[in-house]
């Protein structure tokens, strides 16, 4: 049983939090740059959101209200377990309302309602390195970032364009931050990428397995990589509505009825959908 009787507030020891906090400040000062940190062991396997959890545990305090979502859902196993874990070691209250939450930890989605000043969105990141698809060596990608040498990335996108007629990257679409660093926005869909640009809130990214923290401060230029004759496009949900709340123009999950084969759509952001239905 994990609770405050047996563990420090927010599970991590103070030295660990302090190191992560120092890295967060550097990450904010250098938007899009991956700051290395000493990722700690947690009672959750690496690859299950440990980077995001460590960031959340390092910033959370008694006055916070926490929301955790996984692929937009407040009720998935991963989200529920993270909420239980943080609550049991901090007594911080949790919510499904993204407008009330002060810290939102998320995997693979950004809530529909834009962040406001004072809100922090913590994203869990499996592979923080956007250049990994073109270069397997960490030492080389580090040098490429240092020298702002992103031509192989552009070539990759161009080849993709030639092969498929469009850039085929779906989730974790690479972006440029403040015209300097190419950054992986974590596996969020393309639909969510424009929300990072000139946002009111603060975005923190934690990759536990890869031991990296990076950030996008408020009002920062975040531009998806694209060509002038092949502009960046988001997923197209024209003509589709959520069958539960009737929302249009939001990110929808496509579902099938196993028996009838009927295809229908529901809001991916379950908190947003429930709020629209007055739940």
């Amino acid at each position: 049983m994990i609770d405050q009787k047996h563990y420090n507030f927010a599970f991590l020891d103070e030295n660990s939090k302090r190191e992560i906090r120092r890295c967060i400040l550097k990450a904010i000062a250098i938007p899009g740059y991956q700051v290395p940190f000493g990722s700690r062991e947690l009672p959750i396997g690496r690859g299950w959101g440990t980077g995001g959890i460590q960031v959340t545990l390092s910033i959370i305090g008694n006055d916070d209200l926490l929301k955790v979502i996984d692929q937009g859902s407040d009720d998935s196993v991963n989200a529920i377990n993270i909420k239980k874990f943080v609550n049991s070691t901090t007594d911080v209250l949790v919510t499904n309302d993204s407008e009330k939450a002060t810290i939102i930890q998320t995997r693979h989605r950004i809530p529909e309602i834009p962040l406001k000043e004072g809100q922090v969105l913590v994203l869990q990141v499996p592979i923080p390195e956007p250049l990994r698809i073109i270069e397997p060596k960490e030492a080389t990608t580090k040098k490429m970032h240092a020298q702002c040498e992103y031509s192989p990335m552009w070539l990759y996108l161009y080849e993709d364009l030639l092969r498929c007629g469009k850039i085929g990257i779906g989730a974790e679409y690479p972006v440029t931050v403040e015209n300097r660093y190419v950054m992986n926005p974590s596996p969020i869909p393309r639909y969510d990428v424009p929300k990072l640009n000139q946002a009111e809130g603060l975005y923190l990214f934690g990759a536990g397995r890869e031991k990296k923290i990076y950030a996008i401060p408020p009002y920062t230029d975040v531009t998806p990589l694209s060509f002038s004759d092949a502009p960046f496009e988001t997923e197209d949900f024209r003509g589709k509505v959520c069958r539960l709340c009737g929302a249009k123009g939001v990110y929808l999950d496509e579902l099938f009825d196993e028996k009838t084969g009927e295809q229908f759509y529901e809001c991916s952001d379950t908190g947003f959908c429930a709020k629209r239905r007055g739940e």
């Binding site: 420090n8 507030f9 927010a10 103070e14 030295n15 939090k17 302090r18 190191e19 906090r21 120092r22 890295c23 967060i24 400040l25 550097k26 904010i28 000062a29 250098i30 938007p31 740059y33 700051v35 290395p36 910033i59 959370i60 305090g61 008694n62 004072g118 922090v120 580090k142 040098k143 970032h145 240092a146 020298q147 403040e178 300097r180 660093y181 603060l202 950030a215 401060p217 408020p218 009002y219 920062t220 230029d221």
Partner: protein, 196 residues
């Protein structure tokens, strides 16, 4: 047994850090850490609050011309003291002349293109953060171009900082802290221009 301070290394450091994080994310916006800083009975209470939030045995620091503060911070945090060139945090506890500040800026670690996070962070004491010198401010964390008012002392330091012409991502981040335990930050990517 008398307590030297009531500062809580778990809860107060968290509160101070959250204000610091917001300050770094919103350049030259003031945040108050007085609630936590007042738990120290020391004239440098705000610097101690920041020091105890950021320093430990993994980092080094340098205090300009204040051996008492240096010794206190070392005792409370177990952080190593070092020279200007190696220090992760450079702290000033009084108003210094601009030539001294320039020497500190010139000699502090700027990080490297590959590892810009190895740069130094300055914690600069000021009597107050409020003044009549007007600047325009732009960069990450700033909504377009904002007008900011501050003191002549801070304005001069910002000019000296700009004068270093760091090659981004190398650079130095500044944290200003006042007598009243108000803080504000100036990360390396921000740009200022004086309005006459």
């Amino acid at each position: 047994m008398d307590k030297v301070f009531d500062f809580d290394f778990t809860f107060d450091t968290q509160k101070v850090f959250r204000n610091l994080m917001e300050a770094m994310a919103r350049p030259l916006t003031q945040y108050s850490i007085s609630e936590s800083a007042n738990r120290f009975q020391d004239k440098n209470k705000a610097i101690l609050a920041l020091g105890c939030t950021l320093l430990d045995n993994e980092v080094s620091f340098y205090v300009e011309m204040d051996s008492v503060l240096q010794s206190t911070l070392s005792d409370y945090t177990m952080a190593k003291t070092s020279g200007i060139e190696e220090a992760d945090y450079i702290i000033t506890s009084s108003h210094l002349n601009y030539a001294t500040i320039n020497i500190l800026l010139e000699n502090a670690k700027q990080g490297t293109l590959a590892d810009p996070q190895t740069s130094a962070t300055f914690i600069i004491f000021c009597d107050t953060l409020n003044g009549d010198v007007t600047f325009t401010l732009e960069g990450p964390g700033v909504n377009g171009i904002e007008k900011v008012k501050t003191t002549e002392y801070i304005a001069e330091i910002l000019k000296l900082h700009s004068g270093q012409d760091y090659e981004y991502p190398c650079g130095i981040d500044l944290i200003f802290v006042s007598n009243d335990a108000d803080i504000m930050a100036f990360p390396r990517l921000c740009k200022i221009r004086e309005v006459f």
